[in-house]
C-alpha cells in the first residue's frame, strides 16, 4: 500500500497542473475568449512546436544570463552573509543599506545599467545578480547571527576563537537558511534577467515576449511565459534536491522518516 500512496502523492502536483490547463482550455472555448486576449493552451503549445528552435535559442540566452547572475549572487551572498553574520556591528551597520538597495525596483536600475554596459548580456546578468543577491545575504547572516548564546558560551569557555565558532557551528548552522534562500533567489534571478531583457536586449525570453507583443502575437508572448515558468520550476527543483541532499538534517520531520 505504501508505494502506491507515495506514487499518488507524487502524481498530485502533475494532476493539478494538467487540470489547470484543461480548465483554461475549456474557459477559452466556453467564453469564446479571443486569441489576442487569452490564447488557449493548445494554441500556445502549437506555437512552441512551430517555433521550437528560435524559442529555445532565446530560452538558452535567458538561462545563461540567469545562471551567471545567480552564481555570482551565490558567491557574494555567501561571503557577505558570513561577514555580516559574524559581527553584530557590521550586521547593524550594513542592514539599512541592504534594505535600501533592495527596495529599489530593479526595472529602474536597468536604464542605468544600459548607460554603463550597453544593451545585451551584461545588464541582464547584473540585474539577475542584483535581485537574487539580497535574500541569500540576509538568510546566511540570519542563520549565523541567531546562534544560541549558550552554545557560543560553551565554545568560548573552551578557548574557541571566533574563527572556530564560525567553522564548527556558524556556517553549518546557516546552511539550511542558505539553501532555503537559493530556492527564492533562483526564481528571482529569472525575474531580474527577463526584466532587463524586456528593456535592453535583442535576445532572450524577455526580448522575445516584448517583440511578440509589439506584433500582437499573443500566443508567442504566452509561449515565452510558459517557457520561463518551466525553467523556473526546473531550477527550483535542482535547488530543492541539493538542499535535501546536503541539509536533510534540518528537515528531519519530513525527510528522516523511513
Amino acid at each position: 500500500m505504501k508505494p502506491l500512496a507515495t506514487l499518488v502523492e507524487a502524481a498530485i502536483p502533475l494532476i493539478v497542473i494538467i487540470a489547470f490547463f484543461l480548465i483554461w482550455e475549456l474557459a477559452t472555448i466556453i467564453f469564446q475568449i479571443p486569441q489576442f486576449l487569452l490564447p488557449a493552451p493548445s494554441a500556445i503549445f502549437a506555437v512552441i512546436v512551430k517555433s521550437f528552435w528560435p524559442i529555445m535559442g532565446h530560452a538558452w540566452q535567458t538561462m545563461f544570463t540567469t545562471s551567471i547572475g545567480f552564481l555570482i549572487a551565490v558567491a557574494f551572498g555567501l561571503f557577505g552573509g558570513v561577514v555580516l553574520g559574524s559581527s553584530r556591528t557590521l550586521y547593524k551597520a550594513f542592514y539599512p543599506l541592504l534594505i535600501g538597495f533592495n527596495s529599489i525596483p530593479k526595472v529602474a536600475v536597468v536604464p542605468v545599467l544600459v548607460i554603463w554596459f550597453g544593451i545585451g548580456t551584461v545588464p541582464a546578468i547584473i540585474s539577475a545578480f542584483l535581485i537574487s543577491f539580497f535574500p541569500i545575504v540576509v538568510n546566511v547572516a540570519t542563520g549565523i547571527a541567531t546562534l544560541e548564546p549558550e552554545l557560543k558560551d560553551v565554545l568560548l569557555a573552551l578557548g574557541a576563537k571566533r574563527r572556530d565558532i564560525m567553522l564548527k557551528v556558524g556556517i553549518p548552522r546557516s546552511m539550511p537558511y542558505f539553501f532555503a534562500s537559493l530556492k527564492v533567489a533562483i526564481t528571482l534571478a529569472f525575474v531580474g534577467a527577463i526584466i532587463s531583457e524586456t528593456v535592453a536586449a535583442n535576445s532572450g525570453i524577455g526580448y522575445l515576449m516584448v517583440s511578440a507583443a509589439s506584433r500582437f502575437d499573443v500566443p508567442l508572448v504566452f509561449a515565452g511565459l510558459l517557457v520561463t515558468s518551466v525553467m523556473g520550476v526546473g531550477m527550483y527543483a535542482v535547488a530543492a534536491v541539493i538542499e535535501q541532499r546536503t541539509v536533510g538534517w534540518a528537515m528531519r520531520g519530513t525527510a528522516a522518516q523511513p
Binding site: 544560541e148 549558550e150 552554545l151 558560551d153 560553551v154 565554545l155 568560548l156 569557555a157 573552551l158 578557548g159 574557541a160 572556530d164 564548527k168 557551528v169 553549518p172 548552522r173 541539509v247 538534517w249 534540518a250 528531519r252 528522516a256
Partner: protein
C-alpha cells in the same frame, strides 16, 4: 593550598558603571580543587552571572577572580559547561557532538584527528556512564530531551576539564531521569575529581550532590550564607529521605524564603 577558584571582592554590573544593574555585589568565595559546590538562590539573583564571570565570558566591574592560579581576563580556555537546554548540533550524531570540544580546546585540537580512536573510546566510556551506550550514531532529534541533556553533559566532560560549570543542567527533566543523572554525575565526579560548580533551583539536588551549598540573594546579587554537607560518598539516593538530610534541606529552604522577601 591555593584555592582553585578565588573570588576577591568581585562586583559585576550589567550596563553602565553607575546606573546599571548590580548582578554581583562584593562576592568573596573560595573553591578548592576537586570540590563540588552548588549555588542556590531565587531567580535573578545572579547565579548564571556568577558562572559567566568565572569563565571570563563577562568582565567583572571590580575585584578579581583567580582560576587555576591565573587571573581571569578573557574567556578561560578549558572549562566544561552545560546548560538547561542541551544545545546539541543537529547535523552531528551523538558521538560527534560529544567530541566537539576536542576540535576546539588545546592541546587536543592539534591531535584529535590522529588520536581519534582513543578519544572515541573516551566518549563511549562517558556515554556508558550516563546509560547512553548504543546511541553513538543517533542524531539529536532521535533522542529524548533527557538523553540529549546527558549527551550535553558528556560533551562538557570529554576533554577532562579541571573545572566543570553546570547551569541548571537537570532543570528541564522529570524527577526519575534527574535522579539517575545525579548518581551518574556523582560517579563521574568521584572518578575524575573535577572541580564542579553547579547552579540549581532544586535544593534536594544541591544537598545531595554538593560538598558545600552556597545561598545567594538578589538585588543586589550576593552570597548570604553557606552550608557544608558532610554525608559520606558515594551517597545513595535513599539519603534524600534521611532525617538529617531533611533538616539541612529545610534550613536552606527557610533561608531562601527569608531572603526572597
Amino acid at each position: 593550598m591555593q584555592p582553585f577558584v578565588d573570588f576577591k571582592n568581585v562586583s559585576l554590573r550589567y550596563g553602565g558603571v553607575e546606573k546599571g544593574l548590580l548582578a554581583l555585589s562584593d562576592i568573596n568565595l573560595q573553591v578548592k580543587e576537586g570540590e563540588f559546590v552548588a549555588i542556590v538562590g531565587p531567580s535573578g539573583c545572579g547565579k548564571s552571572t556568577f558562572l559567566k564571570a568565572t569563565s571570563g565570558l563577562w568582565p567583572v566591574t571590580s575585584g578579581e577572580i583567580v582560576v587555576n592560579n591565573a587571573k581571569v581576563k578573557g574567556p578561560v580556555n578549558c572549562v566544561g559547561m552545560a546548560f538547561q537546554n542541551p544545545t546539541l548540533l543537529p547535523w552531528r550524531n551523538t558521538l560527534d557532538n560529544v567530541m566537539l570540544p576536542l576540535e576546539v580546546v588545546k592541546p587536543q585540537r592539534y591531535n584529535w584527528r590522529q588520536k581519534r580512536s582513543e578519544y572515541v573510546q573516551a566518549a563511549k566510556t562517558l556515554l556508558d556512564m550516563v546509560s547512553l551506550a548504543g546511541s553513538e550514531d543517533k542524531f539529536p532529534w532521535e533522542l529524548s530531551g533527557g538523553m540529549q541533556q546527558r549527551v550535553s553533559i558528556c560533551r562538557s566532560l570529554i576533554h577532562d576539564p579541571k573545572l566543570l560549570m553546570l547551569d541548571e543542567p537537570f532543570g528541564a527533566l522529570d524527577m526519575f531521569t534527574r535522579e539517575d543523572l545525579w548518581t551518574a554525575l556523582q560517579d563521574i565526579w568521584l572518578k575524575k575529581r573535577p572541580t564542579i560548580i553547579l547552579v540549581t533551583h532544586d535544593i534536594r539536588e544541591a544537598v545531595y550532590l554538593a560538598d558545600r551549598v552556597i545561598i545567594m540573594a538578589a538585588k543586589p546579587g550576593r552570597i548570604v550564607s553557606e552550608q557544608t554537607i558532610t554525608f559520606t560518598r558515594p551517597r545513595p539516593l535513599t539519603l534524600t529521605f534521611d532525617s538529617e538530610f531533611g533538616e539541612i534541606f529545610s534550613s536552606i529552604r527557610a533561608k531562601i524564603t527569608e531572603v526572597s522577601r
